[in-house]
């Protein structure tokens, strides 16, 4: 007699907790073959706004942590993801309909991406910052600092886990907090990743994951006055120009949609895109 499986309830991830959508809505997640897999929470405008509140509350702690600490926290995500490889491979095989080998390769790459970005946390400032030789008795130094809250539309095509990680990890490196809309049709690995985040050392609210319709939620994030930057990497199929126009109202930093295998490829540029250069002039003369 085969054992009856216990399916998981997939919920949102906001402020380190796993709420259902306040709207009470869910949508069906189907396997590639068309079988029912799960009911995912369909996030509403209010859920998105709650996520921004949680992300704002987390900015101080995360951006105030030492770079060494942030690097270790990001590296620990890789450790925990490695430990749960089988679960992610299984979900990816089901939702994406790919081979076990392809799913394994995707999970490996996602793990390695966390490792790669973890290593940047205490280095990107050295690469992107400068001491500036100004003409006068001043010590002058420029350093990049996190922009604040980054709202992300995760890639909607390609690997559902790798796409998400490729967009979220670089935004976290500098100390930004994130509200991310997961892959709409294949959100399971995103929610499973939030279980990894919740049991790792990432403080609650640093990453907030919404499942549901990007077309419905993204406009609220694009126009939200407390969101500082918008990564449209996975918004190519949406009215993304409208999102960019909405983002202009509060002069958000915006990254455009990307497509193809190179989308959100690992780069220090993705880290620096969500930083602000602060230049401080220190007078040398007053002795």
């Amino acid at each position: 007699m085969t054992r009856l499986a216990v399916p998981k309830t997939y919920k949102l991830y906001i402020g380190g907790k796993f709420p259902r959508s306040e709207s009470g809505r869910v949508y069906e997640i189907l396997a590639k073959k068309g079988d029912f897999l799960a009911n995912a929470a369909k996030a509403s405008r209010k859920d998105a706004r709650e996520a921004v509140v949680a992300a704002r509350a987390a900015v101080g702690g995360w951006s105030g942590a030492t770079a060494y600490n942030r690097g270790q926290v990001l590296y620990r995500i890789a450790e925990l993801l490695e430990g749960r490889r089988a679960q992610f491979v299984d979900e990816i095989v089901q939702t994406e309909g790919v081979s076990v080998a392809a799913a394994s390769a995707q999970v490996d790459e996602a793990i390695d991406r966390w490792v790669w970005y973890a290593g940047w946390a205490d280095k990107y400032v050295q690469v992107a910052g400068n001491a500036n030789p100004v003409s006068g008795p001043f010590f002058n130094i420029s350093v990049p600092e996190p922009t604040g809250i980054v709202a992300i539309v995760a890639p909607q095509t390609g690997g559902s886990l790798l796409g998400l990680v490729s967009a979220v990890a670089p935004a976290l490196v500098a100390g930004n907090t994130v509200v991310v809309i997961a892959n709409e049709t294949m959100p399971l690995s995103a929610i499973s990743l939030s279980e990894v985040l919740a049991t790792s050392d990432v403080p609650g609210g640093v990453v907030n994951i919404l499942t549901g319709s990007p077309a419905e939620i993204a406009p609220w994030l694009a126009s939200h006055a407390d969101v500082n930057a918008l990564d449209l990497v996975g918004a190519g199929a949406l009215d993304w120009v409208d999102l960019q126009i909405a983002a202009a109202e509060t002069l958000k930093r915006v990254l455009p949609p990307e497509s193809g295998a190179d989308a959100a490829s690992p780069s220090i540029d993705r880290i620096v895109a969500f930083t602000e250069t602060k230049t401080v002039w220190h007078t040398k003369g007053l002795i």
Partner: protein, 503 residues
């Protein structure tokens, strides 16, 4: 005559050789504009200086086409060192004609000659000199080897530092290998046209820099032109927002340097003499027409009265008047429109209950003037504590603890600059860390240097001008090539893998 009265010491205008009409500078030549010409006036006398051409859409087209031809035909093919040599030439020509440029700037803008002579024009030369040296070193700009230029840059600049803003825009663009169409502000086109003459003297290839004059619609046509690859704008947040909307969905790279409402924070242990000078320099430099002006003074409660008394004493010694007089501290407000805005906002300041004090100085009969003004008893909700006034008006707020100072300083949608005055080094570092502003001056204010990046957080815009980031704003990385890698485990190079293989 007491010791504060000085005999007039006007700088001579004889050094100028102005024309009565200026055309557009397109493809290396001055050509007539197709719009209706307008006059540029001396804001200190309201008298006409010259007629300025007005570029319509066809002129914008012609300028962008000339820049495109120059980009594909000449400039993008030149070696970096040759581009650099042209920029060095321009820097030297600016130095040679420095006095003439300073006089023209003060005449057209209204700023004191001591500022145009000692700040604006020397910085213009420094900017070209700095970026000249970058032109053949782009591999070190921070974008990896062989970064590429963008193409044609559309640049729109404000009236507060006309020639300096031109230099901030043109120097890095050319060093990176782009060509330029620049539009100066409507009220301050004069020095841009003198600069065009300098480009002719430098024998810069035709079309590499095109300067078109006109009002907002000219700028709009330029920014929206489909054959432009880069837009750089310095000006108001409202216009910056409109530009951000208009380039949405295009491949145009965008740099915006917008408004500010900087906090200048004075702690009770500040070096008080220097702080008073710094406060004055922070808000009354260039009549307060400075986006990074220290327009909100946050002073620790325990020294409030002393600081205000000393500030009033110091302001009473400032000399307001003829911008060309070498003794003048406060020149003319740039335009009637700007004077109206300052007047309106200060009236609102009084209505909302803040206490107004203005220096008692004689206001000339003609021209646009505004006496240095301080508001005390200002609260964070007052318009004069929130809106950018862009004039010689200081709003004073108080605080008790560093945490309160930081919270008040950051309580603004802007984030361009801030000042910190204290003798305690660790406090400078801690407060500087927490201020959300792109430029922070510790025990100084309003310092600028081509090596030092400048630009804002939040609604003060994005991108940086100056330094390496200012160069990177005009470049893109070379297309990347994936590097082949060997897997450590697959290559059996790790001790664990070797052990496994040996079994």
């Amino acid at each position: 005559m007491n010791f504060l009265d000085y005999a007039p010491a006007p700088e001579s205008q004889a050094i100028l050789n102005l024309r009565s009409d200026y055309g557009l500078f397109i493809d290396g030549d001055f050509v007539a504009g197709r719009g209706t010409p307008f006059q540029t006036i001396n804001p200190a006398t309201e008298k006409r200086i010259a007629m300025i051409a007005n570029a319509n859409e066809a002129d914008v087209d012609a300028a962008v086409a000339a820049a495109r031809r120059a980009y594909t035909g000449v400039w993008s093919r030149l070696s970096g060192s040759d581009r650099g040599k042209y920029l060095f030439r321009i820097a030297r020509l600016v130095q040679e004609r420095a006095r003439e440029l300073a006089v023209a700037e003060s005449l057209d803008n209204g700023k004191p000659i001591k500022e145009s002579r000692d700040v604006d024009v020397p910085l213009v030369a420094a900017w070209f000199f700095y970026y000249a040296g970058w032109a053949d070193k782009l591999d070190h700009a921070g974008l990896g080897p062989n970064p590429a230029s963008l193409g044609v840059a559309a640049q729109v600049i404000p009236w507060n530092f006309p020639l300096l803003m031109l230099a901030w825009k043109i120097a890095p663009a050319l060093a990176a290998g782009n060509t330029v169409v620049l539009k100066p502000a409507e009220t301050t086109s004069l020095t841009a046209m003198l600069f065009a003459e300098i480009l002719q003297q430098a024998d810069l290839p035709a079309g590499v820099v095109n300067i078109i004059t006109g009002a907002g619609d000219t700028g709009q046509a330029l920014v929206n032109h489909p054959d432009v690859n880069k837009v750089a704008f310095t000006g108001s947040t409202a216009v910056g927002r409109a530009i951000a909307r208009s380039v949405a969905g295009t491949d145009k790279k965008l740099t915006l340097e917008l408004g500010g409402k900087a906090a200048n924070i004075v702690f009770d242990d500040a070096p008080i003499d220097q702080a008073i000078e710094g406060i004055v320099n922070g808000i009354f430099f260039n009549q307060g027409h400075v986006c990074c002006a220290g327009s909100r003074l946050l002073v620790q409660e325990s020294i409030h009265d002393e600081v205000i008394d000393r500030l009033k004493d110091r302001l009473s010694t400032l000399r307001l008047g003829d911008p060309l007089d070498k003794n003048t501290d406060i020149g003319a407000i740039n335009s009637a429109d700007q004077l109206r805005r300052i007047t309106e906002l200060t009236a609102i300041g009084e209505q909302e209950g803040a206490e107004r004090w203005s220096a008692d100085c004689a206001i000339p009969e003609n021209g646009f003037w505004f006496a240095p003004t301080i508001f005390t008893n200002v609260s964070t909700s007052h318009r004069i504590a929130r809106d950018e006034i862009f004039g010689p008006v200081l709003s004073v707020l108080t605080f008790r603890t560093p945490a309160e100072a930081i919270a008040k300083a950051n309580n603004t949608p802007y984030g361009l600059s801030a000042g910190i005055w204290t003798d305690k080094g660790s406090r400078i570092l801690a407060v500087a860390d927490k201020l959300r502003a792109g430029v922070i001056w510790a025990n100084t204010f309003n310092r600028f240097d081509p090596a030092s990046p400048f630009g804002g957080y939040k609604e003060s815009g994005y991108g940086r001008e100056g330094g390496r980031p200012g160069l990177a704003a005009y470049l893109k990385p070379a297309p990347s090539r994936p590097r082949p890698a060997v897997s450590a485990a697959a290559a059996s190079k790790t001790p664990a893998a070797r052990k496994k293989a040996a079994k």
